[in-house]
């Protein structure tokens, strides 16, 4: 057994602005030279825990020893052995890749003599050599993460702390990131990695599962489950379990009858920026009551397709039809059929929950009695009643997501567009969310959804796999897995992309 790198006893942290504890009575020991994962949904306390370990936050109660140092009093000493990557990567967007690396190189006071060697190695692993002169702000999300990691790895830190380095990244980039950490840190490095992905937890030596500021599991992830599904089911069980039940929301949901077979259609949709194709010749048709998933790495063209479908961006060529109405020619009419939930939950943060519901009900054209009953109903279904007077920005991510969905469906749209609806929420909330979507689909609601959770792909009736602006494969999850000769979506995804690249 290695000696311990981090010892935490009875750690409690509370934000001044909040009544509840961000972290409550945390006791854990992390061994040296291991990769440990801190797993949990958003606002579980992952970032707070990492910040306490590095000395960026001072806990109200409890004891922390980080490499036998006290983070509260010896922050400077800890910084000498620390490589830290914050959630927004900590990059200067106006500075070029090289300038960012240079800056952190100098701030960490690494001897100049090894500079060329170190930089060469980092460029090699990140594939950023060719983008050396490009401003960090103009890199793609995956490249930013690699650069952020490279900055954190400078100086071979004994302790590497990564705050959700893989959030929003496709499985291929995630694997690359993990590979980088393993190869670039020395074998003595202790790595702490926080994540919302259950499948990532699987590959760690040790994991701490957090929920609502408390540790619900600590130990070897393998002991909990041999694969992601098992692991996740165990976690759900520890969290209090989830019973499959019919969505109360869908129960009372009725749509106007239509004969339209394909409520959502894209015909040769294309978007070009200069000579760069963001989306190329995209044609598909979503049948009534179908859940259609758009999958693909960041920058593959999912969001652009999505935006063209709801008329937020004008396509360079082709057209999109919602309930047989052309979105370019008659955008407001076409949009009235859509319930839209944006990636970042476009809610009004400083309006309270009831205010948000009222506002969205009104702009979707609900009035009087109908509006009141609808608001009452969604508030009940999504258990928003206790929070009606709370500002939307103070809600936890899971509840923000519920509120956003509630706002999107109050006017009973026949078509539902969901852009990354479940990133960052806990597994139970995700299951619940999908039960609503499934229920609505049964009632005939046509859904288009983007996601990068591979296991969620299996909730979809059909999937379109996006890569470099093109749909490289379309079909049911089973079909795609057969095509790739794999047993799960994640592998199928990697195989199909690699295959399209070698073509």
């Amino acid at each position: 057994m290695n000696e311990s790198a981090i010892e935490i006893k009875n750690l409690t942290y509370k934000f001044n602005s909040s009544d509840s504890y961000a972290l409550e009575d945390i006791c854990v020991e992390i061994r040296k030279s291991t990769i440990s994962g801190i797993v949990g949904p958003d606002s579980a306390g992952k970032t707070t825990l990492l910040r306490c370990i590095t000395g960026l936050l001072t806990p109200q109660k409890g004891n922390i020893r980080t490499f036998n140092l006290n983070p509260t009093k010896q922050q400077e000493e800890i910084n000498k052995i620390l490589g830290y990557m914050p959630q927004k990567f900590g990059l200067y967007e106006d500075l070029s890749v090289e300038e960012n690396l240079n800056l952190y190189f100098q701030l960490k006071e690494i001897p100049e003599s090894n500079k060329n060697e170190i930089f060469e190695k980092l460029y090699h692993f990140t594939n950023l050599e060719q983008f050396k002169k490009r401003a960090a702000g103009k890199l793609s999300g995956g490249m930013k993460q690699k650069l952020g990691l490279a900055c954190a790895l400078l100086g071979k830190p004994d302790l590497l702390v990564l705050d959700e380095p893989s959030v929003g990244v496709d499985p291929i980039s995630r694997k690359e990131l993990m590979k980088m950490v393993k190869e670039l840190s020395s074998c003595d490095t202790t790595t702490i990695w926080s994540t919302t992905y259950m499948d990532e937890a699987q590959s760690f030596d040790f994991c701490i599962v957090l929920n609502k500021g408390k540790i619900i599991y600590k130990g070897k992830p393998f002991n909990l489950g041999k694969n992601t599904k098992e692991f996740e089911n165990k976690i759900i069980k520890i969290m209090g379990g989830y019973k499959e039940k019919e969505s109360f929301l869908a129960k009372d949901f009725t749509l106007k009858k239509t004969d339209i077979e394909c409520p959502v259609r894209a015909i040769g949709l294309e978007k070009k920026y200069g000579d760069f194709y963001a989306v190329k010749n995209n044609t598909f048709c979503i049948k009534k009551g179908e859940i259609f998933g758009l999958l693909g790495p960041n920058g593959a063209g999912k969001s652009t397709s999505f935006k063209m479908m709801c008329g937020l961006t004008t396509p360079s060529a082709g057209s999109a039809k919602i309930m047989n109405i052309d979105i370019v020619k008659n955008p407001s009419k076409a949009r009235s059929y859509i319930g839209y939930m944006a990636q970042k939950f476009s809610l009004y943060g400083s309006l309270d929950v009831l205010g948000n519901l009222n506002f969205f009900a009104s702009i979707y054209g609900l009035e009087g009695k109908e509006k009141e009953t609808e608001i009452k109903k969604v508030a009940e279904v999504f258990e928003l009643e206790p929070f009606l007077k709370q500002d939307a920005k103070e809600l936890s991510l899971g509840f923000k997501q519920r509120l956003a969905l509630a706002c999107a469906i109050m006017h009973k749209p026949p078509v539902l567009f969901l852009d990354e609806p479940t990133s960052g929420v806990d597994p139970i909330a995700r299951k619940e969310f999908w039960s609503h979507i499934k229920g609505l689909a049964k009632k005939g609601v046509t859904t288009m959804v983007t996601t990068h959770f591979m296991d969620e792909a299996e909730y979809c009736d059909r999937i379109s796999l996006f890569f470099k602006g093109e749909a490289i494969a379309t079909g049911t999850p089973d079909e795609l897995q057969k095509k790739a000769h794999t047993k799960n979506m994640e592998e199928a995804f990697s195989v199909l992309i690699e295959r399209s690249q070698t073509k």
Binding site: G55, L56, L57, Y84, G90, L103, L107, K108
Partner: protein, 368 residues
């Protein structure tokens, strides 16, 4: 040292790549100067005046001529009072003068000769001119007319000279004063964003886990923006003196030395605001409302401090712009007066040190 130079270099990269800093430092002052130069004018060179002669004496034609040739008034002769009243109401004229019947006769008889001057009281400044200009025109006419022997020489004759600004050109004191306002704006706007921005973009969190110290952050925020501010000042002075031809009687070394002291305190206020916010928008809004507006209204440039209520007068004492306005106006118009330089410098140094201490105390090395 290498940490600090790396940070300063970074700061300069950001300044040169972000067009907004260049706009704040050079374009905005230029626009303000142009507005102050051509838009704001406290002298009224020509007032519009109505004239009604009820006396038909031919001697009055010379008076009419005096009015017509005066470079201060533009006259319009009216035949009936009614249209004249209406024109005043409509704002077509700023005031009018009525020369009553037997005006000349009264002068010839050494009796009191009255004239009536009506001014538009809704524009107080202007009505003063409406009062003063015709009076001096009439007085001059009288002294040159055939009646000059009838006029009793006054016992006391006032000889008025406008020192330091002989042409009473208001630009000569407004523009230097506006330089102070511009520099306030630059000092505060440039810096209010820079700490808040680091928090907003998450870079501060990354910086805090490197070997960086509080002193590094502090100096890396002061030095680059101080340099940029001085550069902007040089540009502003150049515009004023060379392009707009505002006379400068002082000493450039003194001017820039005191400006350095002023920038030190203005940057301090900006950074103090910035270090208290983690949101750029809030920071810039508060910079405008707690930094810039008081500086504009209470610096003594727009409203004289002496005529403010006592409470406000006391508040002006903590506004660095006040000292800079006083200094820069006297430096431009009257030259270096060491007492003024010294007193204002002392206050600027005190304010600069106080804000710097507060900034240093407010820079957080932790996330909370």
């Amino acid at each position: 040292m290498s940490r600090l130079s790396a940070l300063i270099k970074k700061e300069f990269f950001q300044i040169t790549r972000d067009p907004s800093s260049v706009i704040i430092a050079f374009i905005m002052p230029l626009i303000l100067l142009i507005i102050y130069m051509y838009g704001v004018n406290l002298d009224t060179s020509k007032i519009k005046l109505g004239l009604k002669f009820e006396d038909a004496n031919p001697e009055l034609s010379t008076l009419m001529e005096s009015f017509k040739t005066s470079k201060y008034v533009k006259t319009k002769i009216y035949q009936d009072r009614q249209t004249m009243y209406e024109d005043l109401t409509r704002g077509k004229i700023n005031g009018f003068i009525v020369i009553p019947n037997n005006f000349i006769e009264n002068i010839q008889n050494k009796k009191e000769a009255n004239i009536q001057i009506i001014t538009d009281g809704s524009e107080v400044n202007l009505s003063n001119y409406v009062k003063n200009y015709p009076l001096s025109i009439i007085r001059q006419w009288l002294n040159e007319s055939t009646f000059k022997y009838k006029v009793q020489k006054p016992l006391i004759e006032a000889q008025i000279r406008y020192w330091y600004n002989q042409d009473i050109n208001s630009h000569h004191f407004i523009l230097p004063g506006s330089l102070a306002i511009t520099m306030t704006l630059i000092g505060m706007l440039l810096t209010t964003l820079v700490i808040a921005r680091e928090w907003e973009r998450g870079t501060m969190e990354a910086l805090l886990t490197t070997h960086i110290t509080k002193r590094d952050i502090f100096l890396s925020k002061y030095i680059p923006y101080f340099a940029l501010g001085m550069l902007s000042m040089a540009f502003n002075v150049f515009m004023c003196v060379v392009v707009f031809k505002i006379p400068f009687h002082g000493n450039y070394l003194v001017l820039f030395s005191v400006c350095a002291l002023f920038l030190f305190s203005a940057l301090g206020i900006g950074l103090l605001i910035s270090s208290n916010f983690k949101d750029q928008f809030l920071a810039s809004q508060s910079a405008l409302s707690i930094g810039f507006l008081p500086a504009l209204l209470l610096s003594g440039l727009t409203f004289p401090i002496n005529s403010m209520p006592e409470i406000l007068q006391n508040i002006t004492k903590i506004i660095p712009t006040r000292y800079f306005v006083t200094f820069i106006q006297s430096e431009f118009l009257a030259g270096t007066i060491w007492e003024i330089v010294f007193v204002n410098s002392v206050f600027l140094i005190i304010l600069g040190i106080l804000t710097a201490l507060a900034v240093y105390k407010n820079i957080k090395t932790r996330v909370e």
